[in-house]
């Protein structure tokens, strides 16, 4: 069964059509990466699939039509990690991550022991537990990103969408993030992420290649055609090479 299913997804922003009738099936329990040049519509596609902006067409989550799901039901099924979150930096780390438990809490009810346990587990997974009493403003960009990732993980949703989660992360923490995604996958979570780091994206199970508001290719990373589609969409300015069983991306200079 596909975790996310979109048919004829069309999105207009500011009177301009930016997604042109996209059909997409994201398989459950796998990690799918969306790549493409700037302005290809990657983030917009992710938001449309998450039901976070108005669209024409149809979206299903785990077989259920999005418009049949209530607000809370949606929040429990899909966790969203956006770009440039955190407008205010006043909240404590612990309070921020506890926000991830909102879909599981009754209105005005205090957090349950389960909530506290999930928050602790998420903070420990992203190695951010030590900062729990600090405010977001006291953390560096990369540290903040790890707290926000913990926030998204605390909800324990079966589907997780992340828009450029590696922004601000240094290489060691990018590797940590990779391990966290593998961990989420092992728990059965479906992960979809927009990534600019092609080398990292090729660690995913599947890649969706986008250009100018359309999906130009969707296939497993192990497939030669997928890697070719990526090279093509970036005007053949990059080359993908195999090295020690992984893929590395090198610039192709004129």
């Amino acid at each position: 069964m596909s975790a996310l299913h979109g048919r004829g997804l069309t999105v207009s922003l500011g009177g301009r059509e930016v997604l042109h009738g996209i059909d997409l099936d994201v398989p459950a329990g796998r990690w799918t990466c969306v790549v493409g040049p700037n302005g290809a519509g990657k983030s917009t596609l992710l938001k449309a699939l998450a039901g976070l902006l108005p669209f024409a067409g149809q979206v299903q989550w785990l077989g259920a039509r999005l418009d049949t799901l209530g607000r809370r039901e949606r929040a429990r099924q899909l966790s969203w990690l956006g770009q440039g979150e955190a407008a205010s930096l006043d909240l404590r780390v612990l309070d921020v991550v506890m926000l991830g438990r909102l879909p599981h809490q009754d209105w005005l009810a205090a957090p349950s022991p389960v909530d506290h346990a999930m928050v602790k587990a998420a903070l420990e997974a992203t190695q951010a537990w030590d900062w729990r009493e600090r405010s977001l403003g006291e953390l560096s960009g990369g540290e903040r990103q790890r707290v926000l990732l913990a926030r998204a993980m605390a909800g324990n949703a079966p589907i997780m969408l992340m828009d450029e989660p590696l922004a601000n992360l240094d290489p060691p923490h990018q590797v940590d993030w990779l391990e966290q995604v593998q961990c989420l996958k092992a728990q059965g979570t479906t992960v979809v992420s927009v990534l600019h780091e092609i080398g990292m994206a090729l660690h995913a199970d599947d890649v969706v290649v986008m250009n100018q508001g359309r999906v130009v290719h969707h296939g497993p990373c192990t497939d030669q055609a997928t890697r070719q589609a990526i090279e093509t969409v970036f005007d053949r300015r990059i080359r993908i090479h195999a090295l020690e069983g992984q893929w590395v991306v090198l610039p192709r200079t004129a």
Partner: protein, 331 residues
């Protein structure tokens, strides 16, 4: 833990407020003697019960309303410079009051329930319209500069309209003059009752939606993804913000900066979620305005300096200091 710290600060601010009310009753002729004399002398009793006590309590209530309105505005619009004054809602409220006065007569000194309630209602409608107008002009809340510019434009235009309405009605003009400067001199028990009711309602409403404000700190998309009922919450929070602003403005006129400064002062004391920020901002606003009022009455005694003038000056200095201490305004 943070919630214990919130309660501790709440207690401290309440004590400051209580001490301020006591102090407020002693500023003016006779000083503390009004307390000793109140049991025997009917004049002293009148000074204490009919003038000083409601005025001091009113200053605290009005400040609490403005502090709460500021905290709601800053959380809702995710903008540390949002406040009832800068968003134009205070001017909208004053336009509502002047229209009410010119249509139905009466005076800002009226102490009967019905005209007070009418004035507060008119101020509420004006405040809501002003916020909506500001948001329309700013096309949302994303851009700090647009929001502030729109707020200034709406504030100036509605303020001018309020003056224009007053100009056509000489008796309204006179009443409005003290009102435009912002003063606690008109506050009686009726006003106190209305403000206390508005404070309870708007605080309860805002407090029930505190988690939405917390979620909004992570951005609109994330708050929506967490299942927050954003549209309804926004509507109710604008209502709470407008109710708090209107109730304060209808009793005391335009008092600047308390709404802006109270939440900032709270955040400089401690970091907590919005449930704490809202409660403490109200208590902080009450303490700030009450102390400013005591100062305003004591500075030029026996002359009465309108407290609005004093908060404007103090607020201006505070903003300058903030401009110097932060390199830029976070959007």
């Amino acid at each position: 833990m943070s919630s214990r710290l919130v309660m501790l600060w709440a207690l401290v601010l309440l004590c400051i407020g209580g001490a301020g009310v006591l102090l407020g009753t002693a500023v003016g002729s006779q000083g503390w003697q009004v307390w000793w004399g109140a049991t025997q002398d009917p004049v002293m009793q009148q000074i204490l019960w009919d003038i000083r006590l409601p005025r001091s309590l009113g200053a605290w209530l009005g400040g609490a309303l403005l502090g709460l309105a500021g905290a709601v505005a800053q959380g809702l619009f995710r903008n540390p410079l949002a406040d009832p004054y800068l968003l134009g809602s205070a001017s909208g409220a004053s336009l509502g009051v002047s229209l009410y006065l010119s249509l139905f007569g009466g005076s800002v000194l009226a102490s009967a329930w019905l005209p007070r309630l009418g004035m507060t209602g008119a101020a509420f409608v004006g405040a809501v319209l002003a916020v909506v107008l500001t948001l329309m002009l700013a096309r949302g809340v994303q851009q700090t500069l647009r929001l502030l510019l729109a707020g200034v434009v709406v504030g100036v235009v509605l303020g001018a309209l309020a003056s224009l309405v007053a100009l056509f009605e000489p008796q309204v003009l006179q009443a409005m003059q003290g009102f435009m400067l912002g003063s606690t001199a008109f506050v009686g028990w009726t006003s106190c009752g209305l403000m206390a009711l508005a404070l309870l309602l708007s605080l309860a409403l805002a407090w029930a939606l505190a988690r939405v404000l917390d979620a909004l700190t992570l951005g609109e998309a994330t708050a929506q993804s967490l299942g927050m009922p954003l549209r309804l919450a926004r509507l109710l929070l604008v209502a709470a913000l407008s109710m708090a602003t209107a109730a304060a403005v209808a009793q005391m006129g335009l008092i600047a900066f308390v709404g802006l400064a109270a939440p900032h002062a709270v955040r400089s004391l401690l970091r907590c979620t919005h449930a704490g920020v809202l409660l403490l901002s109200a208590l902080m606003g009450g303490a700030l305005l009450l102390l400013a009022d005591v100062l305003a009455r004591a500075l030029l005694a026996p002359q009465d300096l309108p407290v609005g003038v004093l908060t404007a000056v103090l607020g201006g200095v505070y903003l300058l200091w903030r401009m110097k201490s932060t390199s830029g305004v976070r959007a």
